[in-house]
């Protein structure tokens, strides 16, 4: 499996990420992709994303390795941005390539669900008046991860 995991301030290009998969070979029949963006809820101006360098990368690598085994992935790319991201900006990209569409799409969901609860990122909301607020974790994210029927990629 071709794995590419990046935590970065810069944006990304989907076409460039697809082009990187060219070396994977001709067995790829389906590519699933998820992109999370900063939603303009309640007059939000931007999100500021912080992470735990080192632990972030190793946790994502673990999630990706589990997805690779479980879904027979041929390639998986995860890019997570940090720093100040204005409303509308992409935050995260998950891309999973497999022989068939079911595996590619399920793996994409698996990776983003676990990433939300297991990778040490924290979001702070910034409003136009300068006010800020740390985002509280959502129980629905824990539930989404739990439905995969494991204690989490951290347990392996």
């Amino acid at each position: 499996m071709l794995v590419d995991i990046r935590v970065q301030e810069e944006g990304f290009s989907l076409d460039a990420e697809l082009a990187r998969l060219a070396g994977v070979g001709l067995d790829v029949g389906g590519i699933g992709l998820f992109m999370g963006l900063v939603r303009g809820d309640g007059g939000l101006a931007a999100l500021v994303l912080e992470h735990y360098p080192g632990m972030t990368e190793s946790m994502i690598a673990r999630i990706v390795a589990q997805a690779g085994t479980r879904f027979g992935l041929l390639a998986c790319t995860v890019i997570h941005r940090v720093g100040r991201l204005p409303v509308g900006a992409p935050i995260v990209l998950v891309l999973c390539a497999a022989a068939h569409r079911g595996a590619a799409l399920e793996a994409t969901e698996f990776v983003i669900d676990w990433l939300k609860t297991q990778a040490p990122f924290w979001k702070r909301e910034e409003f136009p008046d300068g006010q800020g607020r740390w985002v509280a974790a959502r129980e629905s994210d824990e539930a989404a991860a739990a439905r995969w029927g494991m204690d989490g990629p951290t347990e392996s």
Partner: protein, 86 residues
């Protein structure tokens, strides 16, 4: 010595992102023991590490840890809120 890291609102309230803690000579403290010790350092620590200060997760050497996990000299201990990435 143990290196302690703080993230997100914990760091904001404590006014620091890391500090070094000298472990007692006798015995191996748990994460809970260390939190109890930190709480005696002042109002901000009391607020962060008290029940009701908000849910806190911890990691030892970048692996999730439990309150009763043992902490050894040289460990990197991190405290942070539940994750909100993605």
């Amino acid at each position: 010595m143990v290196e302690i890291l703080y993230f997100a609102w914990l760091r904001d309230r404590l006014g620091r992102s890391r500090e070094t803690l000298v472990l007692p000579d006798d015995g191996v403290p748990s994460v809970r023991d260390i939190m109890d010790g930190l709480r005696r350092r002042g109002a901000a620590y009391e607020e962060v590490f008290a029940a009701g200060g908000g849910p806190i997760r911890c990691a030892i050497n970048q692996e999730f840890a439990a309150l009763d996990s043992p902490v050894h000299a040289g460990d990197e201990l991190a405290f942070f809120p539940p994750m909100t990435g993605g």
